[in-house]
Amino acid sequence: MDDHLRIRDLNVGFRTYEGFRQALEVEELTIQHGESYGLVGESGAGKSVLALAVLRLLRTPPAVVSAGELSLDGEDLLGKSARRMRALRGRDISMIFQDPMSSLNPVFTVGKQLTNVIRRIGGENHRAAIVRAQEMIRLVGLPDAETMMAKYAHQLSGGQRQRVIIALALACGAQFLIADEPTRNLDVTVQAGVLKTIAALRRDLGVSVLFIANNLGLVSAMCDRVGILMDGRIVETGTVEEVVFSASHPYTRSLLRAIPTKAAGHEGSESQWAQSLSRFTTENGAHCSYFARCTEGGEVCAGQAKPQLSLLDGTHYVACRVAAATR
């Protein structure tokens, strides 16, 4: 009822020199108001493509996007004109990019970039925009807003940059935020601070978040629900408890084993770690793309079509023949 973002049958492919290549095939993804949804997968699984497709920021000559439904707050996004879509971005839906080093414009000061974004809605005069920009800087936990405004990207640390990027994303009051691996390129100590800031903002501003990461541990700490993206498809989704405590897809289980914990001990974990991180060859074939790596798949899977998402229990869905059979 209270769906904030709704995606059904979203397909994204790219035309390349080598021919057409399917990058994303999402059957269904729904995020409620105020909810935080974590999307986990290896690099190359299509996480960033999904984010850019939702914002309609993919260049459409190489990219080909189609969807049964793509709506924000019940408003269809796909049919929108470029102009209406632009009005929506930043104000209703916004995004934090993964690389703080390259996501800030190097030739403008922080203040200039913030006021540019704030004033684009119009109405706000320059003075008000500056006040609002400083407010945003304080909101994301940066000290000394006045001096921060005058700084260029290269004068900031990685953590400071990422906070500025968060401020930019939220400056126009977007209620839906896509966070694309926001802590990927940060030091571990800085990561914790940035994550805390995002969690606090979510609580205070009531923002819905699509949180993208390659680390299931991170997502389970930050999110209410989780989806596992593999080779452009969501293969398992449910609440954090469902997916983490009763992981059903062999791939999810390998991701869980990849989280280094004290309890996991030493046996075998290293090779599994390596296995889950290694990028597998993506065949655009019709079969389950995990089959080659799967330790559980057998005759049920061989030569069969790609498994569809099917309900396990509660809100827990999985796309795996073996898991569905053993339910």
Partner: protein, 304 residues
């Protein structure tokens, strides 16, 4: 560590590496040929080369090529017997334009070959030896590159005296430093490669390392660059001829023909038009092909 020693190979390009290089070249050629424009240019340049080789033998008026005068037919507009008209001495423009292909293409090829011959070994020497040799060579290169290259070519051509041969020399003298630069940067990275280190380790003389091991392996990028420069060199040669510093009358050189046509162009439009079209299309073909090559070599621009 013993692994490092075990990996030492004979300082030669192994057949495997060679096969890999051939395969890479074939992939690139294949990608290039998927570009329709590049395909057209390759065909056009192929025809041009053919014309340059056999054209002068087949032209309808071989005498016009040599400069024979027939004032009875001077400055005639295009007709069946003279498809591109005639010039002020009654020479058939078609024959002369066709013959011009051989002059422009061969002069450009010689220019580039000589510039490579001069520039590439110096680059290998600078990059391969380093130190004071590098400093001296590169400062000389800096000095040459401080002149706008065509201006330097003009100045040299003035002092050498006006002839096609001297125009070629002048361009070579102003152009070689670019190739030195490219080969040098290539040589510097090659110096760190295993096979060069191995050669050094077994006591190969420095001269052999630079000229036998580094230079041949550093030629790839500079040869690509040289082929991209073809159009530019043809233009420069034409400009020198136009200024009277290149080919001399009655040589059927395109730039010279345009220079001579200046006195008649308000009445005899064909006289200036066709040599100019010949230059433009030739240079255009090389430039468009060059763009295609660059696109294939630079994966960043290879989006789809």
């Amino acid at each position: 560590m013993s692994a490092g020693v075990a990996r030492l190979r004979l300082p030669r390009v192994s057949s495997q590496a060679l096969a890999a290089r051939v395969r890479e070249t074939r992939i690139r050629w294949h990608l290039l040929m998927r570009n329709k424009l590049a395909r057209v240019c390759v065909v056009f340049i192929g025809i041009l080369v053919l014309v340059a080789i056999v054209g002068p033998l087949l032209v309808p008026y071989p005498d016009s090529v040599r400069g024979g005068v027939d004032l009875n037919v001077k400055l005639q507009s295009p007709s069946w017997s003279h498809p591109l008209g005639t010039d002020e001495f009654g020479r058939d423009m078609f024959s002369r334009v066709v013959a011009g292909a051989r002059i422009s293409l061969s002069a450009a090829a010689i220019t580039i070959a000589l510039a490579l011959l001069l520039g590439a070994p110096l680059g290998a020497l600078a990059g391969g030896v380093g130190g004071i040799v590098d400093d001296v060579i590169m400062r000389i290169v800096d000095v040459f590159l401080s002149f706008p290259s065509v201006l330097l070519a003009i100045a040299i051509a003035v002092f050498l005296g006006a002839s096609l041969r001297n125009a070629v020399l002048a361009i070579v003298l102003s152009w070689w430093p670019w190739y030195t630069r490219i080969v040098r940067s290539q040589a510097i990275s090659l110096k760190e490669r295993q096979f060069v280190r191995a050669a050094t380790a077994i006591g190969t003389p420095k001269r052999d390392i630079v000229f036998r091991h580094i230079l041949p392996n550093a030629m790839g990028p500079v040869i690509v660059q040289a082929s991209l420069d073809f159009g530019y060199v043809i233009l420069t040669l034409a400009a020198l001829s136009f200024l009277g510093l290149g080919a001399q009358s009655p040589t059927p050189e395109w730039g010279l023909m345009i220079n001579l046509s200046r006195n008649y162009f308000l009445t005899a439009w064909w006289y200036m038009l066709f040599p100019g079209l010949a230059i433009s299309f030739t240079v255009l073909a090389f430039n468009v092909l060059g763009d295609g090559i660059r696109e294939v070599l630079d994966p960043k621009s290879r989006t789809y």
